[in-house]
Amino acid sequence: MSEQIAFAVLAFTLVGSALAVVLSKNLFHAVLWLALALTGTAGVFLLLDAEFLAAVQLLLYAGGIITIVVFAIVVTERLIGERLTQTNMRIGGGALLSAVLFGFILMVLARHPLPATRPEMPGDLTRAVGEAVLTRYVLPFELLAVLMLTGLLGAIYFARPED
């Protein structure tokens, strides 16, 4: 029962803050709502027994991405002297397409039987993730390190000060 209550609270927070992210007029407020949405997702991860992923989510997303986005807003808006307002366009078409996609997903979900109870996890989940990363998935893991390095170097190159 407590799981249902926790899920309901988290789902409410997540959907509400996600709506605020896409509808808020103030771009800075949208970023703060995104921080709440990402924190809510970390809560969902905790509910799914993924403590390690919840910590990664908080550190990388809520810590890293929010900082970068706030920095980008400050750089682009402060210089141009405009206010932080932003608007949406083609709301009708966007809402229609999103609703169609949502209906399609609902149809697929309704058609397929899904597990109603969660199986017991054999052993410690964080340990299982760590072992999988360094044994079976070690090649993608190393490629990911190269990708992140090149990505961040590229970002620094793009955003370097003009000389």
Binding site: V75, L109, M121
Partner: protein, 99 residues
């Protein structure tokens, strides 16, 4: 509690993110919508991993989180560069490739 509520939640967040990507005029707002969509995908991956008791899904979540962070850093660097060249971050003003 079954798997279905988690998938429903993730589908809802994904569609909200899609709505944001399609309607926002500010490039940074579009990037925020993409972050929401990636987030929904992560919820899906973790939920399936937990309900099938296989750790692989969580490993892939670690990968997607890292890729999303790289994508956000690169995307925002491009936004800053665009701003320097064109003095605007509104997506409908960036129509240089329009015929």
């Amino acid at each position: 509690m079954g798997l279905q509520p988690y998938l429903l939640l993730s589908a809802t967040v994904f569609c909200i993110g899609l709505f944001g990507v399609m309607t926002r005029r500010n490039t940074i707002g579009i990037l925020l919508g993409i972050e929401l969509m990636m987030n929904a995908v992560n919820i899906n991956l973790v939920a399936f991993a937990r309900y099938t008791a296989v750790a692989s899904g969580m490993v892939f979540t670690v990968f997607t989180i890292c890729i999303t962070v790289t994508e956000a850093a690169l995307g925002l660097a491009i936004v800053i560069l665009l701003f320097r060249v064109r003095r605007t971050v509104m997506a409908d003003h960036l129509d240089l490739l329009k015929g």
